[in-house]
């Protein structure tokens, strides 16, 4: 059961080769199929997630949440999606047209690209890059540029303020985000995500890197623009920040991208700290989704409990607390590795 998906992939490649395709082309077609699967997973995930978030929020706030369409309101998101797709696509007169129009497309494009390196199971990454972690981190910070494009292109004061905040937040939180992950790279000695997961077959890194876990989790929340760090959107202050001028499908794309990012970052979190596909009983390709959803629920929990942090507090928290902590983590990890090597050498 563990190898269902690898077997299917091998079968497809063999089938194509038996039809006379050279290996290169067969592999390319397989890649396309995988790409489609990723897209399907993303869309399906987002539909479930939006419903789940609204249900979770309802649970936390002692109300029901969506409960009209289908059992437990499960079709609510689908109805919303249909509504958004049929809505008029309003392009305000004074916007910077090309920037305004392409920002949501880039955003969703980048978000989907994140999935390419994520190992869903052993040997189940679409492309198992040897710099997978670096690729993931650099791409995920690219989404900020899309927010900036949306904010600048909208030609709206709220949007611009939201975009400025997004950029400031990204610059601030990118540093502890990367520094906190250095410890992991030091221990596993690789940037390839499947190597990092494979290294956790006995001990999950959550035990070895608790400090990095906390730093990364907070920085990732900020990176995702989720509450309590949802300053770029900040409905109560900036109306909707960078997304103020967007309607219909373009707005929905931002929404989609945000949830897609959420899933990707949570999945990375699982791969880095929670042992990835390792786990008892269930097949390995099921463990990642299960763990990812648990992490996502923690994100929900935090968002619906905390108020929004203030911009300057956010900055000072990162520079004065998170960055020193993640640097300390690197030092501690270094000592840890040396001591471990010394103990083993005895």
């Amino acid at each position: 059961m563990d190898l269902w998906f690898t077997n299917i992939a091998n079968y497809i490649v063999q089938l194509l080769m038996s039809w006379g395709f050279p290996y290169f082309w067969a592999d390319l077609i397989l890649l396309l199929i995988q790409w489609m699967c990723v897209l399907a997973i993303v869309v399906l995930d987002v539909i479930i997630l939006i419903w789940l978030e609204r249900k979770a929020a309802g649970f936390i706030q002692m109300r029901l949440g969506p409960n009209r369409l289908g059992p437990f309101g499960i079709f609510q998101t689908i109805a919303d999606a249909i509504k958004l797709m049929t809505k008029e696509d309003i392009i305000p007169n004074k916007v910077d047209k090309w920037i305004f129009l392409t920002a949501p497309l880039f955003m969703i494009f980048i978000s989907v690209m994140l999935y390419l390196v994520l190992p869903i199971g052993e040997g189940l990454a679409v492309v198992d890059l040897d710099v997978g972690l670096l690729y993931f981190l650099s791409l995920s910070s690219l989404t900020t540029i899309c927010v900036l494009m949306a904010g600048w292109g909208s030609n709206n004061k709220w949007s611009l303020m939201g975009a400025m905040r997004a950029v400031a937040q990204m610059i601030t939180y990118e540093v502890p985000l990367i520094l906190s992950l250095l410890g992991i790279v030091m221990i596993t000695g690789s940037l390839r995500l499947s190597d990092i997961v494979a290294a956790q077959s006995h001990v999950w890194l959550i035990i070895m890197q608790p400090l990095a876990l906390i730093c990364y989790f907070i920085a990732a929340t900020a990176e995702l623009n989720r509450g309590p760090f949802d300053m770029p959107e900040a409905e109560q202050e900036l109306t909707a920040g960078a997304y103020t001028e967007y309607t219909g499908m373009r707005w929905a794309l931002f929404f989609l991208a945000e949830y897609t990012n959420l899933v990707a970052v949570s999945a990375l979190f699982v791969c880095l700290f929670l042992g990835g596909w390792h786990g008892p009983f269930l097949p390995q390709w099921l463990w990642i989704p299960v763990k990812t959803y648990v992490v996502i629920c923690v994100f929900f929990w935090i968002k619906w409990t905390f108020p929004r942090i203030r911009m300057d507090h956010l900055m000072s928290f990162s520079w004065k607390v998170l960055i020193p902590l993640s640097l300390l983590n690197i030092v501690l990890t270094g000592f840890g590795i040396e001591i471990f090597a010394w103990v083993r050498g005895l």
Binding site: Q61, M161, R308
Partner: protein, 375 residues
């Protein structure tokens, strides 16, 4: 900074943002023209009038009784308080004395209104700071009061239950257990607010030291109510100039010397407890009897006389100034001293130099209701 250094920097300019009149956090239709330097507020110009319904002009063409429903539309969040101020002002003018039972019922309703207004203030403060869940907690508890109002007057928000000389009808039987239950549960609710709002570190950092209003400034700008008490000035009209039968009840006036948003929040939470104390005493000693004094069908002012009557509304000193003309059933002039209107004057002052996000905090803690400010 030296001029030499300044030339090397990019020239910057101030940024004018119109917060409102369509903005989720202006509590109605306020329009705040905010001059920003980055995220720092340089100046705020408050523009009012988006909810102006010329209530004072309408009053001149309505009889004394007809005008009661309009008063409820002033501060629409504290149900019975504006009608209380108005009916008591008219009673003073016309020399009418309400019955004992009516006085007690009025106080019970007024204090419930205050609790509901404060709950919504705390809730919307939390909402404006991004804590949606805390808001829902407050609204959930306020719902109980709304249900009680519905039992009493058939209306949840704009209760026109008070009359000149008393109240329109008696409290229904099922009101008493509901009121008792609410009073009993209130400490538990407040514990919940402390857990979800007061204890939250992000919230504390966003409230402490924000929007500091000194006692002198508060007094000079005529700020009243919880906002004045949060600036460390001990003044509550219920205690210092008792109207109705407030002198018969024991309660404390919470004071905080902080003067910041945090103090304004804490004072409001503490006032919930005190209001509940008053209600409990009033329920215990509620006498039997008529609910409305014998008044003539058409109320007429006996003489050319003016009256100013003020009460401690949930927002501050709510005053009605009525000029009666001899033999007329309508006021010659009616003026509402709206606490929200006057409290809002300090907003530009306390926002200057603060972060943009503090503007939202300051509006929420000053707790203006624009229906009252614009009249």
């Amino acid at each position: 900074m030296s001029a030499e250094k300044a030339t090397h920097q990019l020239p910057t300019d101030h940024y004018i943002v119109n917060v409102g009149p369509q903005h989720p956090s202006t509590h109605g239709g306020a329009h705040l023209q905010t001059v920003l330097d980055g995220e720092i507020i340089v100046d705020t110009v408050v523009k009012l009038g988006y909810v102006h319904r010329s209530v004072e002009k309408i009053a001149e063409s309505k009889t004394f009784t007809q005008f009661i429903p309009y008063t409820a539309r002033l501060d629409y969040l504290s149900g019975c308080l504006p009608p209380l101020a108005y009916t008591q002002a008219v009673e003073k003018l016309l020399d009418i004395f309400p019955t004992e039972r009516a006085e007690y019922i009025r106080i019970i309703m007024a204090e419930f209104s205050r609790i509901s207004s404060h709950l919504l203030c705390i809730g919307s403060l939390a909402l404006d700071l991004g804590a949606t869940t805390a808001c829902i907690y407050c609204v959930r508890d306020r719902e109980q009061i709304m249900d009680m109002f519905e039992m009493v007057g058939g209306q949840r928000l704009l209760l026109s239950f008070l009359r000149v000389g008393g109240v329109s009808h008696d409290l229904p039987e099922n009101f008493y257990p509901a009121a008792r239950r609410f009073i009993k549960e209130l400490p538990k609710m407040i514990d919940e607010y402390h857990a979800v709002i007061t204890g939250n570190e992000i919230l504390q950092r966003r409230l402490k030291g924000v929007g500091r209003l000194s006692t002198e400034d508060a007094l000079a700008y005529g700020v009243t109510g919880p906002n004045l008490r949060a600036s460390g000035f001990d003044y509550d009209i219920r205690r210092d100039d008792p109207y109705g039968i407030y002198d018969r009840f024991k309660f404390e006036v919470p004071i905080d010397s902080g003067g910041d948003a945090w103090a304004r929040y804490l004072v409001r939470v503490e006032e919930l407890v005190q209001s509940a104390r008053i209600i409990e005493q009033a329920l215990d000693s509620l006498p039997e009897g008529d609910i409305c004094a014998k008044t003539p069908r058409l109320l007429k002012a006996p003489e050319n006389q003016d009256v100013y009557h003020h009460i401690e509304s949930s927002k501050g000193e709510l005053g009605f100034y009525i000029v009666g003309a001899a033999g007329k059933d309508k006021p010659h002039r009616l003026h509402v001293r709206a606490p929200s209107f006057i409290n809002l004057q300090v907003l530009p002052m306390i926002c200057r130099g603060a972060k943009f996000q503090d503007l939202i905090t300051n509006i929420a803690t000053l707790d203006p209701v624009l229906g009252e400010a614009d009249r």
